[in-house]
């Protein structure tokens, strides 16, 4: 008995350790890490090296649910309200309508290709309809790329909030397949009611739960430090379970609660984050390993061809089409739309949902599981591996300009927000050139050749020294200008050949560069205000728009986030003619009526 237990611990912990260590090699090879975890699970499984027999769907679903709750709570916690302001509209559209569209498109193809019934086809479609939060977050954050703000926020919020929709659809369709629906007329009503109940309750529980968690954490200052993050996590898991028990969507509640709690300034947020980073990693590894173990590759035989075929449809047709339709009203450029379409990674959630048909008693449940497993593997391989490359080719990357090397949030009593920040001194920086710096920006500590010196006996600062100082988070940007390279980005492909003041008018631009605007925009409109309205007062550095033969780019922002400098790209790369295609343009004008009014700026 004890032997067996120790053996189980040895194997379990061993797999987790191997997974964690493999991350080093995988990152060097650029392989999507989650794929590696899945592969390790497969290798350890019944057809692999260790031959571990694990085929308990319910156990896997249980572990997956726990892990997903942790991941979703954390991804909400790490999503600042700023991202929502930039991307809530497109992201929520993708997470709701987009999921339904993907379900229908994949469902229809499955029905036609595999000759299965409509309902079964749709069930298959709904299982793979959501993008995977873990995979998307991971690849966007750890992939070593800095994406443009709006695209990144859209993708992250979409992936965090579309699981509840896919889960709802899958559960629903599985029920319909099992209990062959009697074609009663009020089925639609039931559906709508059921949907509103799940999402409404999930949202409500999430908001209340998030507020409660934040409130609770703020009052627990006497709690032992180590117990603090555990309390938060336990509260979040309680919320998920309780919401699901009363008929709401627990996963939606987890995500929303994370967002609410994460954006209220809870005490010890830094400690919570550190703990959650670890927990999320554990959850991801655990979930992918379990699902890899659950799969039986020797049974894949019949699923390989349909799986590959459907994956191709999903990647190249269903997802792009759904994304294109969903993003139409939001003024995304063709490149941005293409990139969002490409980052439609499927992951653990889809595999997890593929267990659901068997659990619900759908005959031939293994059929779904094997096909979906192949589809997810394909998506992770094809899309996951190429994300950095695609991002570069579609100009979605903003060069990282910070010379910040270290950033530690400090936990101080009261409302004081301070961070310990470290900068590597750039040879051309203001401080290295001996310019006067404000008192609050002077370093307190210098790290030189791995030795720490106090500022008093460090002597003159040298390039490549690391300077440490205390700063409020708001000043970090200014510090970057003092310690970092003063050179403005000069990649003309990204920031344009020439820099213009934001006050330059359209008429002046047209005079010099022949730029034209088709809509009745008055010629005295400034480029700054044009970009502001194009990007709904949320411009980000790198945002660009086409004006006839040239493109203009947001080069720099002012302190209040309005446009300060505009770049002109003289010879924009030939982009796809999609934009000039007439139905697209006409639809765009029509749909522009539906665009939400501009939000007033935050104070």
């Amino acid at each position: 008995m004890l032997q067996a237990m120790n053996f189980a611990i040895l194997i379990g912990a061993g797999l987790i350790a191997v997974s964690a260590l493999t991350s080093l090699a995988a990152q060097r090879a650029g392989a999507p890490l989650l794929l590696v975890f899945l592969a390790i699970g497969l290798l350890a499984g019944e057809d692999g090296l260790l031959g571990i027999e694990f085929d308990s769907g319910p156990t896997a679903y249980f572990i997956g649910t726990l892990a997903l709750s942790i991941i979703l709570f954390d991804s909400g916690f790490e999503t600042p309200t700023r991202s929502f302001r930039a991307a809530a509209g497109p992201a929520i559209t993708l997470a709701t309508i987009g999921v339904v569209l993907t379900t229908s498109l994949v469902g229809a193809t499955a029905h036609l290709l595999l000759g299965i019934g409509w309902l079964k086809g749709l069930l298959l479609g709904s299982i793979v309809a959501s993008t995977d939060a873990a995979a998307v977050f991971f690849l966007l954050r750890v992939g070593g790329i800095t994406l443009r703000d709006r695209v990144k926020s859209t993708l992250e919020i979409e992936s965090g909030s579309n699981d509840p929709m896919a889960i709802f659809l899958t559960a629903l369709l599985a029920d319909l397949v099992v209990a062959a629906p009697d074609p009663s007329a009020d089925l639609g009503w039931q559906l709508a009611a059921n949907f509103s109940l799940q999402m409404g309750l999930g949202l409500l529980a999430g908001v209340i739960g998030g507020l409660a968690i934040a409130w609770l954490l703020d009052r627990l200052s006497d709690l032992e430090a180590g117990l603090y993050p555990i309390t938060a996590l336990a509260a979040a898991l309680m919320l998920v379970a309780a919401t699901a028990l009363v008929g709401g969507s627990g996963f939606l509640a987890a995500y929303v609660a994370g967002v609410v709690a994460g954006n209220r300034r809870v005490r010890f947020a830094a400690r919570l984050r550190r703990f959650q980073i670890g927990m999320t990693w554990l959850a991801q590894i655990g979930m992918f390993l379990t699902l890899g173990l659950l799969a039986t590759p020797s049974e894949f035989g019949f699923a390989i061809l349909p799986g590959l075929g459907l994956a191709a449809i999903l990647i190249f047709i269903a997802r792009p089409l759904a994304v294109w339709l969903c993003l139409l009203p939001f003024g995304f450029s063709a490149r941005e739309t293409a990139f969002v379409a490409w980052v439609g990674l499927r992951g653990a959630v889809s595999i997890l949902l593929a267990i659901l048909p068997s659990l619900a008693g759908v005959p031939d449940g293994g059929f779904y599981f094997n096909i979906v497993f192949i589809m997810v593997l394909t998506s992770l391989l094809v899309q996951g591996w190429t994300i950095p490359l695609t991002a570069r080719r579609l100009h979605q990357i903003v060069p990282l300009r910070s010379s910040l090397v270290n950033r530690v949030e400090l936990e101080l009593p009261g409302d004081t927000e301070l961070e310990l920040v470290g900068y590597r001194i750039h040879p051309d920086s203001a401080i290295a050139r001996g310019e006067r710096v404000p008192r609050w920006a002077r370093p307190v500590l210098i790290v030189r050749n791995e030795h720490a010196h106090s500022i008093h006996n460090a002597g003159p600062l040298r390039p490549q020294d690391e300077a440490y100082l205390f700063s409020s988070p708001r000043r970090v940007q200014i510090l970057d200008k003092i310690y970092g390279s003063p050179v403005e980005p000069d990649d003309p492909a990204i920031f344009g050949d020439f820099a213009l003041q934001a006050g330059t008018t359209l008429a002046e631009l047209a005079h010099h560069y022949g730029a034209v605007v088709e809509s009745p925009t008055p010629p005295e409109t400034t480029l700054g205000s044009l970009l502001m309205s194009k990007f709904r007062n949320q411009p980000a550095v790198g945002d660009r728009m086409t004006l006839g033969p040239v493109e203009i780019v947001v080069r720099a922002l002012k302190e209040d986030d309005s446009v300060a400098k505009v770049g002109v790209v003289l010879a924009p790369e030939r982009r796809r003619r999609l934009r000039r295609w007439w139905p697209w343009r006409r639809l765009q004008t029509r749909l522009s009526v539906l665009r939400p009014r501009r939000q007033p700026r935050r104070s």
Partner: protein, 154 residues
Amino acid sequence: MDISDLIKPDHVIARLRATSKKQALQDLAKRAAEITGQPERALFSTLMKRERLGTTGVGNGIAIPHGKLSTLDQLYGLFARLDQPIDFDAIDDRPVDLIFLLLAPESSGADHLKALARVSRLLRDKPTCEKLRGTDDAEALYALLVDTAASWAA
């Protein structure tokens, strides 16, 4: 669009002496007036007007001042290598020592853009700039400008 279509050997100034951005543009306007037969003042004010929208100092010691005049008959390019680098309000705050001036007729839409893009691309090439900086002979400078550009076109 070849660089040799824009610039002739006598449009190159090997050692321009100027102490400020304004003076450099004035000197270039004067030289351009001789070449194009346009009034110097009109040329200078066209260039200054463009500078007010945003500096044409594109960084790394390069400036590409440009402007359009309705009375010009064709595109004109001028190249100057400065004796001493001057402050040009460049985007990277570095002093400028290589200036390519481009003047275009009002009506030259696409050609003007192509020429600007060509010049911009030529002078973004760091090795070329180093070679230009290392030469103070007008003919050699001209050869560098035209040959480098031609070798890319091939």
